[in-house]
């Protein structure tokens, strides 16, 4: 029993170190605070896939009135998140199905207009910036369509290369 406890303590310590590292990358002023708007980014770079609602929920627990988040609060909340393995990654095939769901004619691509409509009007809408950024890379310029299989594969490859989180 003692061994397990020691093991768990070690695990927690390691998780805390990882969280602190990720936090500090965004800590512009090196004063253990981070702008609340970057919390989503930090959580995601630790290997989690929360949606916006979930991010906001977390943020609400730890955000200070001035919009900043302190490391100690973030550490507390985030350690639990990681230990509980919340916000698990979305598997490749699920994403594929999601794209297919938007591809009404089953033609293996989605038009720019459709994509924009779905992603900026439905779900947790993209901002215009987010939409433009995605289009800049994802669209095939000649046909103005998104070939989602290739796109998804391309991004997934990059993911697996750099996934730092290993519990």
């Amino acid at each position: 029993m003692a061994e397990q406890e020691k093991g768990r303590d070690g695990l927690v310590a390691e998780i805390e170190k990882k969280i602190t590292e990720a936090f500090e990358v965004f800590d512009r002023e090196s004063n253990k605070t981070v702008d609340g708007r970057e919390i989503g980014c930090i959580i995601r770079s630790l290997g989690c896939f929360p949606n916006e609602a979930e991010v906001q929920e977390l943020l609400a627990k730890i955000e200070e009135p001035d919009g900043f988040v302190h490391l100690e609060n973030f550490l507390r909340v985030m350690t639990e998140v990681l230990l509980d393995r919340r916000f698990q990654p979305i598997p490749e095939d699920v994403i594929l199905h999601a794209f297919e769901a938007l591809d009404e004619n089953k033609c293996e691509y989605i038009t720019k207009e459709d994509l924009v409509k779905h992603l900026t009007e439905e779900g947790e809408p993209f901002t215009q910036e987010e939409m433009e950024d995605m289009l800049a890379v994802a669209l095939d310029p000649e046909t103005n369509t998104l070939h989602y299989r290739e796109y998804r594969t391309k991004l997934v490859v990059d993911e697996t290369k750099t996934f730092p989180f290993n519990v």
Partner: protein, 741 residues
Amino acid sequence: MGSGSSVNVNYKYSLQKSENAFKAAVLIQQWYRRHVARLEMRRRCTWRIFQSIEYSCEQDQIKVCYLMDQFTPSSSKERDFISRMFISGESYKEAELEKYCDYESIEVPDSYTGPHLSFPLLPDHATALLEAFQQKQQLHARYVLNLLHETRKHLKQLPNISHVSTCYSEEVTVCGDLHGQLDDLFLIFYKNGLPSPSKSYVFNGDFVDRGKQSLEILVILFTFLLIYPKEVHLNRGNHEDHMVNLRYGFTKEVMQKYKVHGKKILRMFQNVFCWLPLATLIDQKVLIIHGGISDTTDLEMLEKIQRDKFISVLRLKKRKESSRKPQIQAINGENESGTDAAANEAAPRLSLQPQSAQAPNTANRLEFSRWLRQTVQEQIDTCRRLMDISESEPEELTYSSMVSLKDVDEPCWTRQEEWKQVLDILWSDPMPQEGCRENKVRGGGCYFGPDVTEKFLDKYNLQFLIRSHECKQEGYEFCHHRKVLTIFSASNYYEIGSNRGAYVKLGPDLIPHFVQYQANKTAHMLTMTQRQGFLVAPYSPSFNFGPLLSPSSASLCSVSSRISRVEESAFRALREKLFAHTSALITAFRSYDGDNTGKITLSNWATAVESVLRLGLPWRMLRPQLVRSTEDGMLEYKSWLDDLAMEQRSQEHIQSSLLEVIYRNRSNLETIFRIIDRDHSGLISFEEFQQTWKLFSSHMNIELTDDGINDLVRSIDFNKDGNIDFNEFLEAFRLVKQRPS
């Protein structure tokens, strides 16, 4: 636990068509945002890597200079060698300089097809130069020297602080570091227009080093300076300093481009640099300096000092200085008050420890080297503290060997105080915390906080500061509640795609307007007269992925592949650094591996690496790129280090430990070498090479026997005439670096 998988199952099975699209959108957005966050993290980590390596390099430079001061020659031969390094032509008197760097006797052959300059310069000369450089032509040495003479004459008349008024020229454009990147200068001129009576410019230092076209940039800037003296203003940067140039590439560049007259040209540049003004003031409201300020920055002092005294702000001190004694005693823990300045005058050789270090035997040397390694940082601190305090020192010439002896009438400040003023404005960086402390990362200047800025601006009734000196991802950045603006004009500074460059325009309202850009490889192929569009990214206010190439190519390569090019470069540099510290790393790893299993946890790996490299990097975030394979979360460190070595090693017959040592100290070696190679020939004698190594072995943990040195030398292909072409030697290591792993 286990709730994760059931969520996915729900998603899979409950997709009804009407809900399909909505749920699908959520998923895609969720997944995409995660992807973007990962990219952002990678981008920031890459940036951190570059920056930390850059600054630790600068710190090295200071250490080298310091080390050379501390070196105790163990024989008269060594003593001569060292003193030869210090007696240099640095403090040329004016007349001597003119004679030595005379250009009139230099003939321009008929075969020369480059631009011809005649003085006084006219706008046509500037255009001719721009076109010539665009076509990769070289300006003849005679014209370079002539230009430098005229530039010097002009700069000498200027005050330390230039004054600019927006009422005459409407708008002023301020540019930051260019670092030899000519493409960026062309880009600025293309977007903003050439300097002219209606277009004022301030260039805020660091025109040279690192990039390969420092010379061309200086020629262009000096030309415009002479044609439009009222509209073009140059500030000195910390790289307008020949000691820094030795290390960071300008010296090399000049010698490569001007094999016959390079030395003269360098001497002239060295002199011209110290005549560059130190600051520019716009409308008495905006102060532009290269680095920053400190809590002791005094504009009145800055206005009055003789700026040409500070040929180099990184100093090599004269050997005979009595001032050394207090500092050494402090290091040795002795009583600081027991200084006897006069006592050392007699002994031309400086003893760090009275009895040792004169006998050339191994034991003392090992002790010496161990002691030195342990206390280098403390020594620098002590040295710095003592310089700043100037306690027991009389007002005589003490520290800077570069200070000329001609001044008899001194104002009430000591030379140390003056030196500190200049050092601070050229080397300081802003920090978010309040206060003012030494800039230990760079090794020079201060970190100054928002309170220091506010006090300073209040004292002199200024609105804000503009400075450069630090690379910024967007080319510019505000801090200290928008009272300090950093402007950086060298795009792709660390690597293609690492950052944008920017310049700032100020009108009479003194509200800054920014223009950003990023030089593209193909951009330089377009000539100024053709005025075709440069392929630069339109400024996109959106989430910054990094470099955007021209619209058509953006979709071809994914964003992440663009980021990974920069990233790959950063990690390559990092792996090199890790390799260079192999021995220290093994020791550190072993301390976590008490049972000698050959394995350590990844957590301990991270802690150990930081304790050795001290770069302040997020090692756990970087681990996946550095450590490829693990077993049960444990790393076999020996084989990991072997893998690193395999990437770096080239020649089998050079001992791996030697190689590691060379690697770690490559830049330092090169710097010392260039100091030794006073005629900049690129060749040093075998003996000089040996001396270099001996100088160095006091800094390294590895004891190099004479045989060891001989072996090393033999493994380099050197001419039978007893000379070593150091460029070839260094080139060999560059080739190793570039070899695909």
